[in-house]
Amino acid sequence: MMLKIRSLDAGYSNLKVLKRISMHVKAGEIVTIIGANGSGKSTLLHAVSGIIKGKSGEIIFKDKQINNYTAEKIVYLGCSLIPEGRQLFPAMTVKENLVLGGYILKSKNKKINLEEEIKKIYTLFPRLEERKNQLSGTLSGGEQQMLAIGRALMSRPDFIMMDEPSIGLAPLVVKEIFKTVVSLRKDGKTILLVEQNAKAALKIADRGYVMETGNIILEGTSEELLNNHDVQRAYLGKDYKNIAER
């Protein structure tokens, strides 16, 4: 088991966003979380990656309880988050961004040659090598997303969480990004994908969870979810009429 969450409550200051969330991700899976805006998907990823602290419940990563770990420590364990909106270091070059992605390798082992690690990323995304001395803030959206993925990969994570990688990207670029996600799984990575592009996400995922106002309202294999009417509901609105009058 890669990640297991048991009845997690979390939120920001006095606002509770997540309500008793339970879910899991097995090693080697691609799991996707879908849901409308404001349903708490990103908050869930923030809680796992240590950016916010859970109020109650358990987060277990590779058999370790990580509730109170700092974000840095969680990265050390091999769990990497690619945040929404990329969050690159815009005034630093592509290469510097990648070097920083490898920061924990360097602090684990002083002798490690980051150049070789960076070369591996370049073979995955040749476009980044062409632009290695360019400031990352000047890259196109797709290239930025590649760099964000590359930077996360630099820490050699086993488990990668992606927060809406397709946001703001042209359809063709989205396709490319999703292809990369599939190829990452082939390399043995486990992936938790939060997406607003439901169909595309479910197509590459093994399983999925559907969130609504901080709760998981539905889970199942991708096929089940793709054919489920409720998924459309979660996406296109809460359909409060049917529910409230039921």
């Binding site: 974000a71 840095e72 990265v75 270091f89 992605g101 360097k106």
Partner: protein
């Protein structure tokens, strides 16, 4: 005004200007990693001079200076550890007030440890009467020391931030703290390092300038406001611009003496600060577009 005197002014302008620049860089380093303007920055300069002064009685000057830099660096680190680290999401007002409080405390401690007397480190080479002739102007060799050491500080820092992984990690923190954490960078440690660094370079500046301008326990506020002026002039957070801005301000100050009474010299500097804040808060070297993305 003949050429000699002009040159004299130019050198004195560059000398104070480069000290201002170093203080401004101190501001920038902490500002970049934390978003805090450390109002106690001027006190680091004072502490450097004072500590070195005490040590140089019992050991060679260079050792005293090294010790002063190290001790001030430790003080900077402690300040961060004790007063700043554990604050959860402090407001800007809170940070301003705390660092102002720190500056007062440091100053008062200095007053009780070293009293009110004006002190000065010995000249690094020669004494107050020795001079070097450059292009016909007689200047103290200490001026060359100041210019040399501040250039070394600037070059050293540039290399540090550009080529070492710690330096890069600090830059990463300043650009996006959350993302830096997600790269596994210990952001808290980086903040601490930024305090050590800016305290250390402040102390070094305080040592080299001490023979020329003397050191008193209450010199910090004036220096801080000058350093801040320079930091703003160059654009807060932009250290290479701070060097240029520092020299500009130093020259303005030096030449203003020939026009205005020296009692009003500071009024001119602060007038510049206010003017810049009012019309170009992003600094003279930065574009309007940059300013639009920031709040002042």
């Amino acid at each position: 005004m003949n050429l000699n005197i002009i040159l004299q002014y130019v050198f004195s302008g560059i000398t104070v200007g480069s000290i201002y620049a170093v203080i401004a860089i101190g501001f920038n380093i902490i500002y970049n990693t934390t978003g805090i303007i450390n109002f106690a920055q001027g006190e680091f300069v004072m502490l450097g001079g004072m500590i070195a002064f005490s040590f140089c009685k019992v050991m060679p000057l260079y050792l005293a200076i090294i010790l002063a830099v190290i001790i001030t660096g430790i003080i900077g680190s402690l300040l961060e550890l004790i007063f700043i680290r554990h604050l959860k999401k402090p407001s800007v007002l809170q940070m301003i007030v705390i660092t102002i409080g720190l500056s007062i405390i440091l100053r008062e401690i200095a007053l009780h440890v070293w009293d009110e007397q004006v002190r000065a480190l010995p000249f690094f080479t020669g004494n107050e009467t020795s001079s070097v002739n450059i292009l016909g102007a007689n200047i103290s060799p200490q001026v060359l020391w100041v210019i040399g050491i501040t250039s070394l500080i600037v070059i050293g820092l540039t290399l540090f931030f550009k080529y070492t992984i710690i330096g890069q990690a600090m830059r990463a923190c300043s650009e996006n703290r959350n993302a830096a954490g997600l790269c596994g960078i210990n952001t808290k440690a980086m903040v601490n390092i930024s305090f050590i660094l800016s305290a250390g370079i402040g102390a070094l500046a305080g040592c080299v300038v001490s023979p020329l301008t003397q050191t008193t326990y209450d010199m910090g506020t004036d220096l801080a406001i000058k350093g801040f002026t320079v930091a703003i002039l160059g654009g807060l957070g932009n250290s290479s611009a701070a060097v240029a801005a520092g020299i500009i301000l130093g020259l303005i100050e030096a030449f203003s003496v020939s026009i205005f009474p020296s009692a009003f010299q500071d009024v001119i500097t602060i007038g510049i600060l206010l003017t810049i804040l009012f019309i170009r808060p992003q600094g003279i070297f930065r574009s309007k577009q940059f300013a639009a993305l920031k709040e002042f």
